[in-house]
């Protein structure tokens, strides 16, 4: 029996696991098994199968999504989607943007919500407060214009201008709702 991963060495590690009611099997040589972290308890077989592509008998849903997303690699730390799936760890702060599509469902299954409501660094809080205030002033300005209160509008326009000059540009990922 040949190793499913490297297609080279004799397979000595045989892994069988029940996944979603189906029995999945994989045969590997010892060095591949070690590389894949087979000895770590609770390591799901699906991660291995995803990494292998369509070498196993049938293509699961997971396999179909693989070719397009597999190439996702973080530019900052070199973490790939396969790495992320295997280790369950992000490689750097930038990974949260690179794997954004995977993050939400994952975080939803782990946490109470997917929007941070706790402590924020002071400089960030200040930015957030400024943005909130700018939004309010914009609305007031629109209202003043529609109601033809042009003197009020002029005052509002000046304060908006002043405030937006103060504010530091918001960093992109933070600007999400």
């Amino acid at each position: 029996m040949i190793c499913n991963v490297c297609q080279n060495n004799e397979a000595t590690v045989h892994l069988t696991q029940m996944l979603e009611g189906e029995i999945k099997k994989i045969d590997m040589c010892e060095s591949c098994a070690q590389k894949q972290g087979v000895d770590e308890p609770g390591m799901p077989l699906i991660d291995l199968l995803v990494g292998l592509g369509p070498s196993s008998s049938e293509t699961s849903e997971e396999d179909e999504t693989t070719p397009s997303t597999k190439r996702l690699v973080c530019q900052v730390c070199g973490n790939s989607l396969a790495d992320f799936k295997k280790t369950g760890r992000l490689g750097c702060s930038h990974c949260y943007e690179v794997f954004a599509n995977q993050m939400d469902p994952m975080l939803r299954s782990m946490h109470k919500g997917i929007k941070h409501t706790g402590k924020a660094p002071k400089h960030f809080k200040d930015d957030r407060a400024t943005r909130d205030q700018l939004e309010k002033l914009e609305k007031k300005l629109q209202k003043a214009i529609t109601e033809e209160r042009y003197e009020d509008a002029a005052v509002l326009r000046d304060s908006i201008k002043q405030l937006s000059e103060q504010a530091t540009p918001a960093d992109e990922p933070s600007a999400h709702p």
Partner: protein, 389 residues
Amino acid sequence: MNLHEFLTPIQDICRRPGPFDRIVLTSRVRLARNLKDTPFPGRATKQQRDEHLQIIKPVVESLTSMKKGFSQELNDLADLDRQLLVERHLISRELAKKKQGAAFVLSKDETCSIMINEEDHLRMQVILPGLQVKEAWKAVDKIDTQLENKLPIAFSGRYGFLTACPTNTGTGMRVSAMLHLPGLVIAEHMQQTITAVNKLGLAVRGLYGEGTEALGNVFQISNQMTLGETEFDIIERLNKVVVQIIENEENARAKLLESNPEMVFNNIGRAYGILTNAHVISSKEAKNLLSLLRLGLDLGYFPEMDPEVVDELFIVTEPAHIQHRECKKMSPEERDIMRATQLRERLEGMQRPSMQVIAAKNDDRPDTGESDSSEDTQSDAQDGSGQET
């Protein structure tokens, strides 16, 4: 100054009082933080980890809370000392395995410990005696605020603080309380308690956190979720649950004493007998018996004894502490002998438990339906203590 000159003697640490410390041993709040736009420790090269260390360490050392503190790189730390710090809960088991680029900084009183290049660039924790989760949060929050002004911390408005493991994303906060619950264990209410606590989104773990056994009837209760809730809400909820468990533990003890005092006396008496007379004892058995001794102390059966001694023995009978005292590496068998020696020495002259006064009341024990179930409990518990070797 080396590590051992710096560390506060265990007996002094055990003498620090805290609210509800009969049942709550310690409260801890830990925050995970990272530098932005650079690889986390698990993804960083040796060189990058060193660079991160050079950025972070001076900033951490300059914190007001770290005045007269102690810092060391893991590279310069002997294996035994690593284990010793884990046994004192000052560093994590994960950090103890690291080498290049990893370090820790301790505050003078050792209540605050900051780990650098563990799973995240920064892991900072404050541990206080008794139930003080809110106080621990205040202390670690203050440190965090000081750091955020000096380091480029990874934060997103949407996900909060960004961490290597998505289970920490958001607040990056893990709050935990270490509880001593012999009453609930003996009364066999622990499984129920764990199920109820889990339903509230809190985890119940063993003495050394994730993946460890609940030795000596010590359980760690901590939050599992870190995103979608404020720190305040998480801490409030955990505090409420712990207060409830304290009440349940007190009730379980009272009920056991009422319905089955012999079983309680038997457990405590046997623990006393073995601990003061054993010549070979494993760490696990020592912990389980010390737990019963602690219960006996709480119930007032050892009026002469200094209550902190048991907490101290909990730590000094740990493997690294024994080896450090003897200044040599020892096999598990040698340690079991030394542990027993140390216990006999430390407990020498300890008076036998005086449980007679309450025991006299046994005759008029009401024969209610409840005694059926407690009868089962009794035999199970006896089996348990009898088998322990």
